[in-house]
Symmetry: C2
Subunit: 454 residues, 2 copies
């Protein structure tokens, strides 16, 4: 039994101060909206069970965001931003109640020009792409949750995804042009973070300001073709995937090798995943399909090939990749969880092979080829058969001991998530400026100590 948490004592006063900004206090709804996909991790699932905001607030404009921020600062109420709550580590779960700030109403597209869009943070990523398509443009990167996730949630909580094989992750200079944020103070103000400075909000879990607008660079919206290619072995899928990843003349968006039995959980496309074989899921520009096939030669068998689409009615193949791979299996088997790995670029195939060999029973191989710091390498989201927290930690430690970087998805603070690192010095310093009282998503930036109250 969880103790029923008490709402913040100043809640009534706070709500009064919000005027006509839409508010929901009905407990079941607020509690439901306070969850994200933390249940992927058995560890976080236990820790975050029952956490909830006290009130859901849904501003429609930046002015209304400021009004909420001012009220929260005045009454010392925590404030946790929320996009679509598709995050994996409880990023959008309020640890200390207070306001759950639903940003999904900020959906204005201010302008599109010179290959850049400026828009509100609440736009659903697939909807933004649909709006950009007539101009031949689309977002450079998106998570596999594109059809639900918001642009702001991706910038504040995500790292990369479909498109990262060409552009790298959000952390690469140039992938976020600018962010506009609102501070949490009695008199909030807006700050424009341009270029490098925008990294201060990237993957900061909403602890360093409320994003109210983003300027994102775009990519050409080629007609994309999605394919499933079957290989006898995971190593075969890896080797060809690597070759394709290195082929700069082949324009691509996704290269995901996935070991059997993971494809056996792939619902709708199960018929295209031959029993016992590994698959490679790819998205290639139509103009490059012929060259892709020439490179493939007789190495693998294309079992499915069709135009890619985000439209309702067909599940896009990318929803079997990135962290959706894990989800497909979790739907059938709650006894598994996953890791997030980054392999050394200069021995990527060897290193992946070593890890597969080291955990033959526990680890189901799944990689994503990406660019990282200008080099082609593989990240991985292998599925792990869970036994105990200690064993999970041992598996991660063994990866690290063999030169594989781990971003721990079983912790809720941003520092622990990136293992070896503390919060970015810049981010902590910046937080002091924009959220001096530490009201934004408290508990997620562990190293931050709020300034003493005056």
């Amino acid at each position: 039994m969880t103790a029923i948490p008490q709402p913040h004592p100043k809640l009534g006063a706070l709500i009064d101060a919000l005027g006509d900004v839409p508010v929901v206090t009905e407990a079941a709804t607020v509690r439901k909206r306070s969850r994200d996909f933390f249940w992927y991790s058995p560890i976080l699932n236990a820790q975050l069970h029952g956490k909830s905001a006290d009130v859901l607030v849904s501003p429609r404009t930046e002015a209304e965001v400021m009004r909420v921020a001012a009220a929260c600062a005045r009454f010392g109420v925590p404030i946790t931003p929320r996009g679509a709550a598709t995050g994996n580590y409880g990023q959008a779960v309020p640890l200390h109640g207070g306001v759950l700030l639903d940003l999904s109403g900020l959906t204005e597209v201010e302008w599109v020009r010179g290959g850049v869009v400026r828009c509100g943070p609440g736009l659903v990523m697939s909807e933004l792409d649909a709006m950009l398509a007539p101009q031949g443009l689309e977002q450079r990167l998106h998570p596999s949750t594109k059809r639900r996730a918001t642009v702001g949630g991706f910038v504040a909580g995500g790292s990369g995804g479909i498109g990262s094989i060409t552009y790298g992750g959000l952390r690469e200079p140039g992938n976020i042009r600018a962010a506009r944020i609102v501070t949490v103070e009695p008199e909030p103000h807006a700050i424009e973070l341009r270029g490098d400075a925008a990294q201060k909000v990237n993957r900061a879990y909403g602890t360093t300001g409320i994003i109210t607008a983003l300027e994102m660079p775009l990519a050409p919206a080629w007609p994309w073709v999605e394919m499933i290619v079957a290989f006898d072995t995971f190593a075969g899928a890896m080797a060809f995937g690597h070759a394709a990843a290195l082929a700069d003349g082949i324009v691509k968006k996704l290269i995901a090798p996935i070991a059997w039995p993971l494809p056996s959980f792939f619902a709708e496309v199960r018929p295209f995943c031959p029993e016992g074989r590994a698959v490679l899921i790819v998205m290639v520009a139509e103009a490059s399909v012929e060259s892709f096939k020439a490179l493939l030669g007789g190495d693998g068998d294309i079992t499915l090939e069709r135009p890619a689409s985000d439209a309702p009615g067909q599940t896009p193949l990318y929803e079997y990749t990135w962290n959706h791979t894990t989800l497909q299996m979790l739907k059938a088997d709650r006894g598994v969880t996953y890791l997030q790995c980054l392999f050394p670029h200069d021995r990527v195939l060897e290193s992946v092979g070593e890890m597969c060999a080291m955990f033959p029973e526990e680890l189901l191989g799944h990689c994503e080829f990406i660019r990282f710091g200008g080099r082609v390498t593989a990240s991985a989201l292998p599925v792990i058969r869970f036994s105990t927290p200690e064993r999970l930690d041992a598996i991660m430690a063994l990866h690290e001991a063999h030169g594989v970087m781990i971003a721990n998805p079983h912790v809720m603070t941003l520092e622990d998530g990136s293992r070896h690192k503390r919060a970015d010095a810049d981010q902590i310093g910046f937080k002091r400026e924009v959220d001096p009282m530490g009201l934004l998503n408290p508990g997620k930036m562990r190293s931050f100590v709020p300034a003493p109250r005056a």
Copy 2:
């Protein structure tokens, strides 16, 4: 004095057989058109002096190309294709007289769709880009001779250039979609080479068929900004250039570090090249300029920044890069020549540094960052103060001994040009099919032995 070469004995009969295909026999004109930029090399300049075709033939359609090919096969007359003759190794210089086949009349654009253009080989590359621009498209790669060179000459003679920092060279799978060629036989036929097979004509110097159409994949025509950035040292320009080359979020087309005193020869833009300093010439998408500057920080000084344009009236900055860098100095000083190097990707800065230190007096540093086999590395076209052929060879040998690959630009056969290699096995075998008598650009594919006459 060169002996006056005798025209081919069957020349008259051949010309008769051509019907109304335009022909020029006036010796001065034919001789002038039989030259390319081989004079960059003091060695080739001596060897190729006075070489000329007997007749210049300018077909306007594929049917006319076939008619020429048939006549040449019937009378055993050599046939050397010519685009704009901007090649550097006498590629388009007929060694054994005969027909100089001017393809610049084949300029039809058949179609543009799905990010691909299909067009005649004779189109000047800047003109093709001008036609594509209204659709937001452009060619992926072009040589620095874009304003003169033809699409067909680039595919048959070139390797890469502006754009290779994103797409690699022409050799990368996917960068040539298809080529249509005409064979040289009494009854010529056309062959469509798709995908990988198109590599049979890439950099084959026109020895493996006469290209009559090409299918080339395209890139988005971003608004490009060109800049000159000054650095105190060449090493500084190299280090920042490398960082920019690795920044996948910064969309770019050109990153060329050039050591002093080369910029002192840069005519129109000389005022933007500060005395004694190295420069970096770049082309960056407008949307990425801000991030580029953030990455630069205080490292270098931007002395010129303007929208890039191929239009007449302003020399595009790319005409100071790639092999134009050499040209700018050669205009003032015929005592220099150049090399073509490829540095190892895993120690590119060290390796370039070693070579600069090894030849402090003779070598003027000039690199081009590119992707090669999926890795960011630097190619180089350093300017060399020429003393003797032996010394030039020694300098190349020393590069190779230190792990730098050399493509020798002082030889006229395609085998010698790539040093360690023989002609691609595929290309030789293929030549037997399409040019059994060895009439196409004879002498350029050294390892080819024509089939004995029946």
